[in-house]
C-alpha cells in the first residue's frame, strides 16, 4: 500500500511523462491563417449585432407610412367636407373623376356615408348612395 500523497505524485509523474506534444509550428501557421481570413471576412460583412434591425426598421417604416396615409385621409375628410347634396348632384362619376385627378375621393365617400349608417362605406357604396353605379 503506497501512501496517498506518494501515489498521487506517482500518478501525476506517469501522466506527465506521457504528455501529448504541444501544437507544432505547422499547426500554428495553419490555424492562424484560417483565423485571420475569417477575421477579414467578418470585417467585410455587416456588423452581426445590427442584422436583426433591418426587418424591424422595415416594419416600422411600413407602419409609419400606413399611419401617415390614414391620418392624411382623416385630415382631408375633416378639412374638405363635401356637401352631400352637391355630391349627389355631381354623381358617382364625378367621384371617380375626382379620384382620377388625385382628389381626396374618400372625403366624398365619407361625406356621403355620413348621412346614414354604416359609418364606413366604400367608393362603390358611395356611388350607390349617390344614385349611380359609377
Amino acid at each position: 500500500m503506497i501512501r496517498d500523497a506518494d501515489a498521487g505524485r506517482l500518478v501525476e509523474a506517469r501522466l506527465r511523462a506521457a504528455a501529448p506534444p504541444r501544437p507544432d509550428p505547422a499547426l500554428e501557421a495553419r490555424v492562424l491563417r484560417a483565423a485571420r481570413a475569417a477575421w477579414r471576412d467578418t470585417d467585410r460583412e455587416a456588423p452581426a449585432g445590427l442584422v436583426w434591425l433591418w426587418p424591424v426598421a422595415a416594419a416600422a417604416a411600413v407602419l409609419l407610412a400606413v399611419g401617415a396615409a390614414q391620418s392624411s385621409d382623416r385630415l382631408l375628410a375633416r378639412r374638405a367636407p363635401v356637401d352631400p347634396g352637391a355630391a349627389r348632384a355631381a354623381g358617382a362619376g364625378a367621384v371617380w373623376a375626382a379620384h382620377e385627378a388625385g382628389a381626396p375621393w374618400r372625403a366624398f365617400a365619407r361625406a356621403a356615408a355620413a348621412r346614414r349608417p354604416p359609418m364606413w362605406c366604400s367608393l362603390r357604396d358611395a356611388g350607390a348612395f349617390l344614385g349611380e353605379d359609377g
Binding site: 496517498d4 501515489a7 498521487g8 506517482l10 506517469r14 506521457a18 477575421w39
Partner: protein, 183 residues
C-alpha cells in the same frame, strides 16, 4: 497566487483589446494564451490528434468571427471553452455519422479504454479515456494545460472546489488503473 491572478487579468485585458481592435494580427495574442490548453482540452475530448487539430482551427475561426462578443464577455475563458466544447461535440457527431456504416467499429474506436495498451503513453491514454469526461477535462487542463484550479473553474464554469475534487477523484481512479493500487 495573487500575482498569477493579476497577470491573468492583465492578459485578459490584452486579449479583449486585441479582439476589440481591427487588426487581424490580434488573433496571435489569443493563440499565445489559449492554443496549448485548448489543444489539450480538445485532445481529451476527441482522443485523436488530427481531430483535435481540426477542432482547434475551427475554434480559432469562430473566435475571429465572434471576436466583438468575446471581447465584451464577462467570462472570457468560459466563452472560449464553450466554443471548444461545442466544436468538439459537433466533430464527434460528424465522426459518428461518417462512420455509421461501421457503427460498432466506430464505437470501439471512440472508446479507447477497450483498446489494448501498446506502450506507456498508450496505457496512460487508455486510462485517461476511461475517466468520465468531466474528470478528464480537469486532468487535461491541470496537468497538460498547466492551468490552476481557479482558471479551470472559470473555463469550465464550475466552482473551483468542484474542479479540485474532480481532479482528486480522477487521480484516485488513475491510481487504481495505472498503479494497480487502491486508495
Amino acid at each position: 497566487m495573487k500575482d498569477a491572478r493579476v497577470d491573468d487579468e492583465t492578459e485578459s485585458e490584452a486579449i479583449r483589446a486585441a479582439l476589440g481592435g481591427d487588426a487581424p494580427a490580434g488573433i496571435e495574442v489569443v493563440w499565445r494564451r489559449y492554443a496549448h490548453p485548448l489543444f489539450m482540452f480538445l485532445l481529451g475530448r476527441l482522443r485523436r490528434r488530427a481531430d483535435a487539430e481540426d477542432a482547434l482551427q475551427e475554434v480559432f475561426v469562430k473566435i475571429a468571427r465572434k471576436r466583438r462578443a468575446i471581447a465584451a464577455a464577462r467570462n472570457l475563458d468560459g466563452y472560449v471553452y464553450a466554443i471548444a466544447r461545442h466544436e468538439a461535440a459537433t466533430l464527434v457527431r460528424r465522426r459518428v455519422r461518417r462512420e455509421a456504416v461501421a457503427a460498432a467499429a466506430a464505437r470501439e474506436r471512440l472508446d479507447a479504454s477497450d483498446a489494448p495498451p501498446a506502450g506507456e503513453a498508450d496505457e496512460v491514454r487508455a486510462a485517461l479515456a476511461a475517466l468520465p469526461a468531466a474528470q478528464r477535462d480537469v486532468v487535461m487542463l491541470k496537468l497538460y494545460g498547466d492551468m490552476t484550479f481557479d482558471a479551470i473553474a472559470r473555463a469550465l464554469r464550475i466552482p473551483a472546489n468542484t474542479a479540485a475534487s474532480r481532479y482528486r477523484y480522477a487521480i484516485a481512479r488513475l491510481r487504481t488503473t495505472l498503479l494497480g493500487d487502491r486508495p
